[in-house]
């Protein structure tokens, strides 16, 4: 994925101000809503300017709290927050050059679409002509110029989402915060708007901080993802790094991995877990992750591949799922079960009860701590 960005200047007339490399810098952020409700537990984070940055985590992990602190809607109990190199920890929301797209959109029902989009400009005291011009430009950019005269209750979910986006973008914020903006939409519209958001971010070169609990969405859209759990950051990295090299079992499970096993014994020769033994000099860790993509399933009686040869796990098929492009098997190995996938090349499926061998690529075995 290319990291280069088109210049910020677009047909919407945005000025191409130079940006510091780090848009947002968080240091030691703490926030609690009570002794048992710690939302943020010492968050340190640097969000690169001009990137699509995603805060990923289960509900209640603190991602929305973090977003509200960045927006200035809540203030942290401790820690500092700087945006564009300026400390704004104690700056009120309406004085920060940051705008938010809210999960529920929070559009003003008493104003029409144009007045909703122009609200921020009006609050900044721009004159009517300027507001009208910039609203029209932004509406054209988001492709909702045909909706400007509508009332909010006449809009569909997807249209509301776009209006909320335009209402934030028209202010040309340094940072755009998006709080699960697509979660209320159906799957098809969601996919369309994911791509559209990405396209808008690329064209504007604006820093987007996106909150989601959906790891697929995070992987598709982000330059960088921070995984949060119980108010702490578990791992920050590119989607590929998080998926292929998760730092700990929580991240691995949250990225959708199911073949995660505690390591029973490990030495320089190999490691032992519930599924059996893998030979190789792996990095010491507490858990081992076997991604289904690096395990090749084949009949138990097939000849092993030549040369040094990958590790082979003997297993028996317990369940099988036909997924179209691939087949998914749950197989029993040792004292546990594993998930293995097989690309659908028309080779047919293994029967339940069939003895199989899983050839594990050495490079695909990841050991984790924690």
């Amino acid at each position: 994925m290319s990291q280069s960005r088109s210049p910020a200047a677009t047909e919407a007339g945005r000025d191409n101000a130079p940006r510091a490399d780090t848009a947002i810098s968080l240091r030691g952020l703490h926030q609690a809503f009570g002794p048992d409700a710690v939302a943020l537990d010492g968050v340190d984070l640097d969000i690169p300017a001009g990137s699509f940055f995603t805060l990923l985590g289960p509900s209640g992990c603190g991602k929305t709290s973090l977003l509200r602190v960045i927006a200035g809607l809540d203030s942290p109990d401790a820690g500092t927050l700087s945006i564009g190199g300026r400390d704004v920890t104690r700056t009120a929301a309406h004085k920060r050059n940051v705008n938010t797209v809210f999960q529920s959109y929070a559009l003003f029902g008493h104003l029409d679409v144009a007045a909703n989009i122009g609200f921020g400009l009006r609050m900044q005291g721009h004159d009517r002509a300027t507001i009208k011009k910039r609203v029209a430009e932004t509406a054209a950019f988001i492709q909702i110029d045909n909706l400007l005269g509508r009332r909010i209750d006449q809009l569909s979910g997807g249209q509301r989402q776009r209006v909320a986006l335009a209402r934030a973008l028209v202010n040309e914020p340094d940072v755009l915060l998006l709080d699960e903006p697509l979660s209320a939409l159906d799957a098809g519209l969601r996919a369309t708007l994911q791509l559209e958001l990405l396209r808008i971010q690329r064209r504007l070169g604006m820093t987007f901080v996106f909150v989601t609990h959906d790891q697929d969405e995070a992987m598709v859209m982000s330059d960088t993802v921070a995984v949060l759990n119980q108010g702490r950051i578990e791992q920050v990295g590119a989607p590929a790094a998080l998926y292929e090299r998760p730092a700990n079992p929580f991240v691995a499970r949250f990225m959708g991995h199911s073949n995660l096993f505690a390591i029973r014994a490990q030495d320089a020769e190999g490691l032992t877990a519930d599924f059996g033994r893998l030979a190789g000099d792996f990095r010491p860790g507490s858990h081992v992750l076997l991604r289904p993509e690096v395990m090749h399933i084949r009949p138990a009686d097939a000849p092993a591949a030549g040369g040094q040869g990958p590790n082979v796990i003997r297993a028996q098929v317990r369940e099988r799922l036909y997924r179209g492009s691939r087949m998914e098997y749950t197989v029993a190995a040792g004292e546990t079960t594993l998930v293995a996938v097989d690309d659908n090349r028309g080779q047919g499926m293994y029967d339940i009860g069939a003895e199989v061998a899983l050839a594990v690529e050495q490079s695909g075995v990841v050991t984790l701590d924690g």
């Binding site: 809607l73 929301a93 929070a106 029902g109 008493h110």
Partner: protein, 302 residues
């Protein structure tokens, strides 16, 4: 056959419908339409020598209401109307100013405390209005701590007391109608979308604009309902002005009541009552306009 069944189905549906609406219709005709028609007729009749309405139909009662009497024109009745309107507007405004923060506060209180707090607001209205008015008399009368305090602060002359007075009437109205404003406002505050406040602040709104755009439009339905529940009964209020006003500052409700009782001038009383109804309808229309102007387009309609 299908047609026949449809027709019998149609008839039974019509009977069913009639059966459903008949009780309501009969109720409204007997207790609203008929008395209103009777009242309206009386308003256009002549006041007889023995205080009963007689034929022929005239506009005499309305002339008298406008101030034309034996001694020429007097503005007394117009003062009554004006005073009643002013008192209603003032009381409603005061009720809104008190009820709005109270309702907001209750809606943000811990969920287990809210029923209790609402109960505390409502419980006083379970006592008879007259008894509560008499209670206020005792609090505001000359020689009471409240009256002495007001005298010491220079609001009233010494020994006068806060009751009877216009102030006592206003206080009584506010006290009496507070629950009717708190409850509908609480209902809208309870389902307030606070994200709209966040959105307003996020978009650069200060405190006032955040309230004006993030809160007020969402509470308009409750404000409108509360205003109707407060202003209309307050406009026709009889007991409180009568008791707390000490009969000095006549209000429209008392004026009407007197015509049917002591003064025995039914046509005049009926004419005044008609004016009250008209004024109420005009007030409702103004409220509706205002609701639209302030922007609550859906839900504010009455």
């Amino acid at each position: 056959m299908a047609k026949a069944r449809a027709r019998t189905g149609g008839w039974s549906a019509i009977w069913h419908l009639l059966g459903l609406v008949a009780p309501g219709v009969i109720w409204i005709v007997v207790f609203l339409v008929a008395p209103a028609a009777y009242l309206m007729t009386i308003a256009f009749m002549t006041n007889g020598s023995y205080g009963l309405p007689e034929m022929p139909l005239t506009l005499a009662a309305f002339k008298q209401l406008a101030g034309y009497g034996f001694l020429g024109w007097s503005p007394a009745n117009l003062y009554v109307v004006g005073r009643t309107l002013a008192q209603t507007v003032l009381a409603t405004a005061a009720v809104i100013l008190i009820a709005y923060p109270v309702a907001f506060y209750i809606s943000r209180a811990p969920a287990r405390l809210r029923p209790l707090m609402l109960l505390l607001v409502v419980v006083p209205s379970w006592t008879n209005q007259v008894i509560r008015a008499i209670g206020w008399m005792n609090i505001l009368a000359p020689g009471t701590p409240m009256a002495d305090l007001a005298a010491a602060l220079g609001f009233i002359s010494p020994h006068l007391g806060l009751y009877p007075s216009q102030f006592a009437v206003a206080l009584g109205l506010v006290y009496n109608f507070l629950p009717f404003m708190v409850l509908p406002l609480y209902a809208v505050f309870e389902r307030l979308d606070t994200a709209q406040i966040d959105a307003a602040r996020d978009l650069g709104a200060g405190t006032w604009d955040a309230f004006r755009h993030g809160v007020l439009p969402q509470t308009l339905p409750g404000l409108a309902a509360g205003t109707v529940l407060v202003a209309i009964p307050a406009f026709g209020m009889y007991v409180i002005p009568e008791l707390l006003g000490g009969g000095k500052n006549l209000m429209l409700g008392s004026l009407v009541a007197r015509q049917f009782a002591a003064a025995s001038n039914w046509p005049f009383g009926a004419a005044a009552a008609l004016i009250m109804i008209v004024a109420t309808l005009v007030g409702l229309m103004v409220l509706r306009r205002l609701g639209r102007r302030l922007g609550g387009d859906s839900g504010v309609m009455l």
